[in-house]
Subunit: 391 residues, 2 copies
């Protein structure tokens, strides 16, 4: 199944009555509702009445084009993203997103956003990212025959910088404060399509979370029902919101009669969504302390995360690096080696210590190979090893 | 579908009339046909008459337990191995095995071999490996609640050593010549189950290639037919033989009326199967020069690779590091970042320059994160970046 997109436009998350055409994607947030303090994202609207429910009779395999009616138009050939397994662990489930083409969940987003760049006729994509997002955008740009510029900061692991470079992207490490102005210049002067955020609170690409909806579709088919709760590692909350939106669509289409509670699992060193929810703000920017979970550690939150948590009856959970390390270690001791930030979902579930009336899914976002410090330790050769050395 | 194994015994590849019971797995090769110079492996025999062909009506998704009737008994819970995508590339297909639980094809083998360790009641598994095999065995041992000892050599990248350690294995770096004697001691004195080779020419675990058969089943369902040719990165040729065996089973079961030609793609620095085929030997051991493709560079070949190439009408192809690097680079420039040895299949296809009457599949075995040197290069921060620096 790979039929035509039923996307019809963009709607403001600042005021749902405000709609815009589907193109161009409004990559600087809603122009009508955003203020100097809060930028509101947009989301894609579909003609749900025309969705053939047999779409959900198919298997939850690779290539998200199988969900084309519920995605913006796809113009980049697949790298086989999606179709990730749901692995049982200790009475709950892990959705192992390290099993995507560039070994993180970001591939679902970038198949969609780089497709928008192709539709826009852009010569390339530009992204500010120190990790998975940049490499994934580079991979899909390469697949599409577009150039890619990745603005990274000095803090990312050398292996991860090599990763984005491998796909042929121009990767430049710049001071953190230079990233957003440069990105804007690349967009304005070179006509590159931006696939990361440009606004005061996070809005990102309006099409991005659509790719993440496919995680909800897969979970639904894999479990044979919607889960009771979903715990997601959360930085900007595009993942959290996308999964939430997917479940709301399943209910809207009459395929499910419930939706899960959504839990935003953020680093305790920051936690902008936890702050926004606690203060009743539509979004927040916080001071950021130190965290090795660089994949989710950022000061800037967005309105999407607040909506997903609030509308689903969930919570924002703050987890420390130590809690993530314990979760990471326990996952590895069951055969799943995650990046530190990738274990935030499990860490959040454990910190909350709550019983749910149904299956719990923690999203595990990325491979352990991308962690800080991996590969920096060398291990000595044992010259005259004996059996005792092995035990 | 996760029904009972129809495996009935082990058969010698030295003389097909010689059979043994299914247990214990003969991990030191065929005791009747092996000589001081050549060790013959065993393979698993099934009651094919009892195979319900509806087995192949299912989707080629994750968890190889879906093929249980045609596998030895599985006792380790799945990590979601298999179900990898077939990605179009330049008129051919790449089977992207970097999408397995530990990001290489080895997971298919280790689900099966570690299950044998559980069946044997062993307290742990032991493996001599500098790369993917050791980490994958460690992951499945962890999943099974068994201990794991990984004997590695100083040559493997630090990130890959960290990888196996993450799963809780005891990883010890020992001189190359100490690996096999130590492994034998761990087996004999500690009762650990060996999941790597112990013989003069390669025999390995008799159950191992059975896991790789599932790649053939998936390709068949993904293409809707058998391919005309399969190119596989080849070290010990367990992968090559397993995939070949899967295709012969599809023909035996009346599901396919042809089998592909199988191409062993070996490093030109060694190439024991190319040597054996050229000289008419059942297996060979060669001098090994230098290659960065450490995943497939070894002096020791086995009889399985000779059988797969010969019986399929294929060839052994030697590829240089430069040819693999070019293939690796070209794959990455289409969004697929492979380990150097993982690109050997594509390099072999290109070196052969032959037209085939049907689809060609190159197996791509592993993620680029595991390559030599990844993460050793640091990239300077650009203090005052301008647009010109980005182009």
């Amino acid at each position: 199944m790979n039929s035509t997109s039923l996307a019809t436009g963009q709607r403001s998350l600042g005021a749902p009555s405000i709609e815009f055409p589907l193109f161009p994607p409004l990559t600087r947030g809603c122009p009508k509702t955003s203020t100097d303090e809060i930028a509101y994202p947009l989301e894609v609207v579909y003609d749900y009445a025309r969705v053939d429910r047999r779409l959900f009779d198919q298997e939850p395999g690779t290539d998200i084009a199988r969900w084309s009616p519920l995605l913006p138009p796809l113009h980049v050939p697949t790298l086989g993203e999606g179709g990730t397994p749901l692995v049982e662990f200790d009475g709950i489930y892990l959705k192992d997103e390290s099993r995507n083409p560039t070994w993180s969940h970001k591939d679902r987003l970038n198949r969609v956003t780089v497709s928008a760049a192709v539709a826009a006729g852009a010569p390339g994509v530009v992204v500010a990212s120190s990790g998975n997002h940049g490499a994934s955008a580079a991979a899909y740009a390469a697949r599409a025959g577009l150039r890619a510029i990745v603005l990274t900061s000095a803090g990312s692991p050398p292996a991860v910088q090599a990763f984005a470079r491998a796909y042929g992207a121009r990767v430049v490490s710049v001071p953190v404060e230079a990233r957003w102005p440069l990105l804007r210049e690349v967009v304005d002067r070179l006509g590159y399509h931006p696939v990361s955020n440009q606004t005061v609170t996070h809005t990102g690409h309006p099409f991005g979370p659509e790719g993440y909806k496919t995680i909800a579709y897969e979970m639904f088919l894999q479990l044979g029902r919607v889960p009771a709760a979903v715990f997601a590692p959360t930085g900007y909350a595009e993942l959290l919101y996308g999964v939430w939106k997917g479940f709301t669509e399943l209910r809207l289409l009459g395929l499910a009669d419930a939706t899960p509670r959504m839990f935003s699992c953020e680093t305790a060193a920051g936690g902008p969504h936890a702050r926004a929810i606690a203060t009743g703000a539509p979004a927040a920017v916080v001071e950021l302390g130190h965290s090795d979970a660089y994949g989710i550690a950022g000061p800037v939150g967005g309105h999407r995360g607040v909506l997903a948590v609030r509308d689903s009856g969930g919570e924002a959970v703050l987890v420390t690096d130590d809690e993530m390390r314990q979760a990471q270690r326990d996952l590895a001791r069951q055969g799943m080696w995650q990046e530190l930030s990738g274990a935030a979902g499990l860490a959040g579930y454990r910190r909350l210590r709550r019983d749910f009336d149904g299956p719990v899914v923690c999203i595990a976002t990325s491979s352990g190979f991308k962690d800080m410090g991996v590969g920096t330790e060398t291990f000595p050769l044992l010259e005259n090893p004996t059996l005792e050395d092995l035990i």
